[in-house]
């Protein structure tokens, strides 16, 4: 039936060639369809992108330029123009000399306070939350779902409601005003979202892996440390980014739960910028703001790809 000779004749008739008029030749479109570079869709697309990026970049431009100008030049009012004479004096002043209250050692004090708050808060909150998430995903106990639900409700209660009770709790613990009090507050407030993140990630790890480890005689901690941890770098990166940026940018808890000598960088920035005495030094304010924003900025730039991967991984399975 399938005689090769008859198949050849069928192909020779070439119905496509018949339709396109190019009988006998295999002309016409071939391969990828060409696309015009300058088309209405492209103009619209790139135009929008350009406008949006300008919208976001202009303020940054103004801040950087202003911070590099001297006060006389700023008073001339051309905020978009680059500095005629570049000076780093405002940056030096913002970092080391600007006054807040009686202290005149600039933002540096706040920076180191922030670091001292940030490091233990991030380490502690992630350590606790990762074990929480692991236990809730793999070692379900009676009431573990209820516990998890209660923890999640914590994420939806506005911070303002809890401010005063926490003041009392910290006072009773003898931690009020100290750096460790603030570390404790950050750890607790990071718990719901971080636990959710880790629980979802560990829930997406195949259950059979966990079972195999149990058959191999590994217990709670060994499975966590030797099996789960090495597999979960992306979610740890996400957690670190969330906590570093969140805690670094925190203002409310910093101003409420610490004393002035322990104020984090954000609070000190506010105090420098909002001081009402003397001349408004726009260049110093801009430099101080840029300095404060530098840490989250660096974190985002350094970890962009890992961050997206981790967020996607943590999002699987609810």
């Amino acid at each position: 039936m399938a005689d090769p000779a008859s198949l050849n004749t069928l192909a020779a008739i070439d119905p496509v060639g018949d339709r396109t008029g190019a009988v006998g030749h295999m002309d016409g479109p071939r391969g990828r369809r060409p696309r015009r570079t300058v088309s209405r869709a492209n103009i619209f697309l790139y135009g929008t992108l350009l406008v949006v990026s300008l919208y976001y970049l202009l303020p940054l431009w103004v801040m950087v330029m202003t911070s590099l100008k001297g006060m006389p030049e700023i008073r001339m009012g051309n905020i978009f123009s680059p500095p005629v004479e570049i000076t780093f004096q405002p940056w030096v002043k913002a970092w080391a000399e600007a006054c807040t209250g009686i202290n005149c050692d600039g933002l540096s004090r706040g920076f180191w306070n922030s670091v001292r708050i940030l490091v233990p808060s991030v380490v502690l909150s992630i350590a606790v939350a990762s074990v929480n998430g692991y236990a809730l995903a793999n070692w379900k106990f009676k009431g573990s779902e209820v516990f998890f639900t209660i923890l999640m409700i914590g994420a939806f209660i506005p911070y303002q409601v809890m401010i005063y009770p926490i003041v009392i709790v910290l006072r009773e613990l003898g931690l009020f005003g100290s750096l460790w009090g603030l570390v404790l507050v950050h750890t607790i407030f990071g718990m719901p979202i971080l636990t959710l993140l880790f629980r979802n990630y560990f829930a997406s790890v195949p259950e059979e892996l966990f079972k195999a480890a149990r058959v191999d005689g590994a217990g709670f901690w060994r499975i966590f440390l030797q099996i789960m941890l090495p597999m979960s770098l992306p979610i740890f990166v996400v957690a670190i980014i969330l906590q570093v940026t969140g805690i670094w940018n925190d203002f409310l808890f910093g101003v409420i739960y610490t004393r002035p000598e322990n104020y984090p960088m954000t609070v000190q920035l506010n105090n420098i910028v909002n001081s009402v005495q003397g001349v408004k030094e726009y260049n110093v304010n801009m430099a101080a703001t840029l300095l404060t924003g530098l840490v989250p900025l660096v974190v985002y730039f350094a970890s962009g790809k890992l961050f997206v991967r981790g967020i996607a991984a943590g999002a699987v399975k609810g």
């Binding site: 059979e208 892996l209 079972k211 195999a212 149990r214 058959v215 191999d216 005689g217 030797q226 099996i227």
Partner: protein, 362 residues
């Protein structure tokens, strides 16, 4: 009271999740060195039973003995079992060597001993060149071999397999099936093997336990299961293409269905005397005699061919008997076309007769 040659004994095992009963008062005795296959469609409780034996699930009630020891409350690692999973479940960040030795390191076995056990397992499974690779660099078949090796190094009495071949392609599955059979012949361990694939079950098992909704429907050798199914469910489940069933009546040694009368002479009834009752006659497509064999069959007749499915090694013919579709398996060389009338023969001794109400074998 425990007979020593029982490797695994399961007593009154019940498992419920809330209102759902997964396992119901299940009893099962598995002999030393036996290859037992738990076979059933998905959701029948076979994997759950295996997880209970492994200690990964806590039974609601009942007991489990391994080697005469009550292990019901023991941790998986203390039960003397090794387990192989469907998804291989290899630790991704460890090398093959690390995967094989993880359990031994946890048990604090001396390094030299670990070394020699890993080497032995790698030799048996022919994965020596792979020892320093990560699981991600292995093919599916290699991964499953490593997973088997992980059970092998533990030097255990009982091997548990949870659908180990289901993730492999057809050819690899057939290869590894033979390897598992050979492994069992060489090691002589007790093996409990869960599958939904009846070919795996028939080829590997010393005995098969057919499960349905948390109960064992029939426990027997592949030969018993295939030739003397104790219920219509088992008869229907085993065999491909599946058994033909004719509804009718059993009356004084005859099976009647419509205008069809079949003498059941030669059929071994379960009881010496059986009262007349509605019954179902089951005939496997491959037990219908065709061609030259028809003249030797006790009962002969003729059918009209409806449809032909050639499969190379044999040909499946669809016909009508007593108004219902009827499958006949013919030799692959037979030439038949729809509309042909072909002679067929039946042998009642190879048929199965079931009570129409209880669906149990008569």
């Amino acid at each position: 009271m425990l007979v020593p040659n029982h490797s695994v004994r399961i007593r009154d095992l019940t498992l419920t999740f809330g209102a759902v009963t997964v396992l119901q008062n299940l009893n099962l005795d598995i002999h030393e060195g036996e290859f037992l296959v738990l076979l059933g469609s998905s959701g029948c409780g076979k994997s759950t039973l295996l997880n209970c034996i492994a200690g990964l699930l806590e039974p609601t009630d009942g007991q489990i003995f391994i080697k005469g020891r009550n292990v019901t409350w023991l941790e998986p690692s203390e039960r003397g079992i090794g387990m192989v999973f469907q998804s291989y479940a290899l630790y991704p960040q460890m090398t093959v060597r690390g995967n094989l030795s993880f359990g031994l390191r946890n048990a604090r076995i001396p390094a030299a001993e670990i070394e020699s056990r890993v080497a032995r397992a790698a030799r048996i499974l022919q994965i020596e060149p792979l020892l320093d690779r990560k699981p991600g660099q292995l093919s599916g078949g290699q991964r499953q071999r490593v997973a088997i090796g992980r059970a092998l190094v533990r030097d255990v009495d009982v091997f548990l397999f949870d659908e180990p071949l289901s993730n492999l392609d057809a050819k690899l599955r057939a290869d590894l099936r033979v390897e598992i059979k050979r492994l069992h012949q060489n090691l002589d361990n007790t093996m409990i093997y869960v599958t939904h694939d009846q070919v795996e079950a028939m080829t590997l098992a010393d005995r098969i336990a057919i499960m349905r909704s948390g109960k064992v429907m029939q426990l027997g050798t592949p030969d018993e299961i295939y030739n003397r199914p104790q219920s219509k469910y088992v008869a229907d489940f085993i065999g491909s293409p599946s058994m033909n069933f004719l509804d009718g009546h059993y009356e004084q040694g005859m099976f009647r269905s419509g205008d069809l009368n079949i003498s059941m002479q030669g059929y071994k009834l379960g009881a010496p005397q059986i009262a007349d009752r509605p019954a179902i006659l089951g005939i496997r497509p491959e037990h219908v005699a065709t061609g030259a064999l028809v003249s030797a069959a006790p009962i002969q007749g003729e059918v009209v061919v409806d449809l032909v499915e050639p499969m190379g090694s044999d040909t499946l013919v669809w016909a009508q008997v007593a108004g219902k579709p009827f499958r006949i398996r013919m030799d692959g060389q037979a030439r038949v076309a729809p509309g042909d009338r072909i002679p067929v023969g039946l042998d009642p001794s190879k048929a199965s007769l079931f009570d129409a109400k209880t669906e149990e074998r008569l």
